[in-house]
């Protein structure tokens, strides 16, 4: 099984992103996803910056994929998407149907986790349109994934979101701006102050969600390291690690060690427990509420 580094979903300053990807180039990940998948107002990195980063990672032997935005609203969003789709240097992860529309029949693409693919017929259609890899929705269970994977078209890879706070929802409204009583159009880029998102608790103190601009994430960290054997059995080819602000590459090492069989899975899981920025969860994989942790 290969390891992929998902796109950074938070808004980090340019220097931090560049340092992060310098570290990625020498880490044991096979695939790196780049680009801004969440908010069109974020501009610390322009397309040229992403492409330059992509080329450096390519030279370091990584496969690179550029991510499209999950929510495309305006003509300027569409222009940015066309630039991405027209750049034939790197594969693109399509995260909405506008991206699929622009890529279909022209170039191979990755069907991203924000497309709604819940059955084999829909997946087969996307493959006919040019999808070469599928990242299922984060809420998919082992049972459903196994059933779809059993019918998958030849040569289609499956990549599963296996670590990180879960991206659960998108809105036209920016909840970070709302917290600061600012409008989205004048948000003063407050996301920069929250490299792991803005924590939201229930009134009785439960760490419940994380606000990340227009995206809402789980506060708990999805952690399928203990399931790597089951992932492979279900037909998963690639495990995706979603970057968090701290210790992402320690997590990469823990997954790598488990996948290489260098260490018993139990030892890797114990090691991972010390690296988590919040409580773990794995409920979705087991077909129950996402926030649960099934032993």
């Amino acid at each position: 099984m290969k390891l992929a580094l998902g796109p950074v979903l938070y808004y980090w300053p340019r220097e931090r992103l560049l340092a992060f990807y310098a570290e990625a180039s020498s880490s044991p990940v096979d695939i790196v996803y780049l680009g801004e998948a969440v908010c069109s107002r974020r501009h610390e990195m322009r397309l040229a910056d992403w492409l330059a980063t992509a080329r450096r990672l390519l030279e370091a032997g990584k496969e690179v994929v550029l991510c499209s935005q999950a929510l495309v609203e305006s003509e300027s969003d569409l222009r940015a998407l066309r630039r991405l789709a027209d750049d034939n240097e790197f594969r693109v992860e399509a995260n909405d149907m506008s991206a699929v529309s622009l890529l279909a029949g022209r170039v191979p693409f990755v069907a991203g986790p924000h497309l709604n693919v819940y059955n084999a017929r829909t997946l087969a259609l996307l493959v006919r349109l040019g999808a070469t890899r599928w990242v299922p929705p984060v809420e998919i269970s082992r049972a459903i994934l196994t059933a779809i994977a059993a019918e998958r078209p030849a040569n289609l890879e499956i990549e599963l979101f296996a670590y990180g706070r879960l991206p659960l929802a998108f809105s036209a409204r920016c909840f970070t701006a709302r917290h600061y009583n600012l409008q989205k159009d004048d948000c003063q880029f407050r996301c920069l102050d929250h490299p792991d998102g803005l924590p939201l608790r229930t009134s009785d103190g439960d760490r419940f969600l994380v606000l990340n601009g227009i995206q809402t994430q789980s506060a708990r960290v999805y952690a399928l390291l203990g399931e790597v054997g089951a992932l492979a059995d279900a037909g998963v080819d690639i495990a995706r690690i979603s970057p968090q602000a701290e210790r992402t590459f320690d997590v990469v090492q823990a997954f790598h060690a488990a996948l290489q069989g260098q260490r018993p899975a139990g030892a890797s899981v114990r090691e991972l427990a010390g690296l988590l920025p919040a409580e773990p969860c794995n409920g979705y994989w087991h077909g129950v509420s996402g926030l649960e942790m099934v032993a």
Partner: protein
């Protein structure tokens, strides 16, 4: 411009027809539709009666089959499509690509509408559904400003339907898994958001508490109007500030935008609320029928009448209203 009204039962359908709906949309009694609530929706006999009543009055019936089929239930979703074609439903409202492909291939005469759950927010996305399946209408997610709706309409031949009134999803429809994170059921997979079986109410010394799947959604002091614990409409704490961190309970109401919606070429306005009572359907349909007729008679002089506003306010969630994303500052 068509008025598209909700029905969760036969009495609601009759209320919609009697009060001037052009189309009534409804769902079957299972997880094939995004309002899969206990005691709601139509079995085959009720569907037949609904079709008979609506067609006798010259109105249309649209069947929502707008959740995403999963491997073990595929046949249930295709049966719903077959049923729609056999019984003479005027259009099916679909979200899933695979299901659209099935419908277009098996029932080429069946009119296809792209559901709001399909999350198509641009003309590029909508035109793909047109190219692949001949989709004739698309319902827009409640995320676009009115200028964006106008630009979109200018670049597609697909008819555009927008939400005019009712409960407001603050998240992009089809892009929200908050409910399954807490309860295991989401609109995409189970046709349910914040399902009633997961709700607990408890009177505590600190107030009346509502929980969903064990998560504290809201706490009400005496005299406060305690609304249903839809999880994005709870009061939460962010940086020691307790407030409606995602969305206040409020209804979308775009009545004042009606002349603009007509001018930019919106072909249909949808009223939300298949889970609401026949009385709600009657009331909202009556107001919108009168407003659309007034707008059609003289768009330049159109104004929201105080009695329309009062009537809609009475049935609004939390008794408050918003223009939602149509009005940019909401974002």
């Amino acid at each position: 411009m068509e008025l598209v009204c909700p029905a969760g039962s036969l009495p609601a359908l009759k209320a919609a027809v009697d009060n001037g709906a052009d189309c009534v949309y409804l769902g079957l009694r299972d997880e094939t539709n995004a309002r899969n609530f206990a005691g709601l929706n139509f079995d085959v006999a009720a569907l037949d009666q609904a079709l008979k009543y609506a067609h006798a009055h010259g109105r249309k019936v649209l069947l929502a089959v707008n959740t995403y089929p999963q491997p073990d239930g595929w046949a249930r979703w295709t049966s719903a499509i077959d049923l729609a074609a056999e019984r003479g439903v005027d259009a099916v409202i679909l979200a899933d690509l695979g299901l659209m492909e099935y419908a277009a291939a098996r029932h080429p005469q069946l009119r296809l509408h792209l559901s709001v759950q399909g999350s198509a927010t641009t003309h590029e996305a909508i035109n793909l559904y047109r190219r692949l399946f001949g989709v004739q209408r698309a319902v827009l997610p409640r995320v676009l400003a009115i200028q964006q709706v106008e630009q979109l309409i200018a670049q597609t031949e697909v008819e555009i339907e927008v939400f005019g009134f009712g409960g407001l999803c603050v998240m992009v429809e089809g892009r929200c898994q908050l409910s399954s994170y807490v309860t295991g059921e989401s609109p995409n997979t189970a046709g349910a958001c914040s399902p009633a079986r997961a709700v607990r109410w408890e009177q505590t010394p600190r107030g009346l508490e509502s929980r969903l799947g064990g998560i504290l959604i809201n706490r009400f002091s005496a005299g406060e109007n305690a609304g249903y614990p839809t999880l994005c409409k709870g009061r939460f704490e962010v940086a020691e500030d307790v407030y409606y961190a995602i969305e206040e309970p409020a209804s979308l109401n775009t009545l004042e935008l009606l002349p603009q919606l007509a001018r930019i070429g919106v072909r249909a306005v949808k009223i939300e609320g298949r889970q609401r009572s026949p009385a709600y359907v009657a009331q909202v349909t009556r107001v919108w029928r009168a407003a659309i007729d007034a707008c059609r008679a003289n768009a330049a002089r159109f104004a929201v009448r105080p009695e329309w506003d009062a009537e809609l306010r009475r049935v609004s969630e939390g008794r408050s209203q918003t223009l939602g994303a149509y009005h940019r500052p909401w974002k």
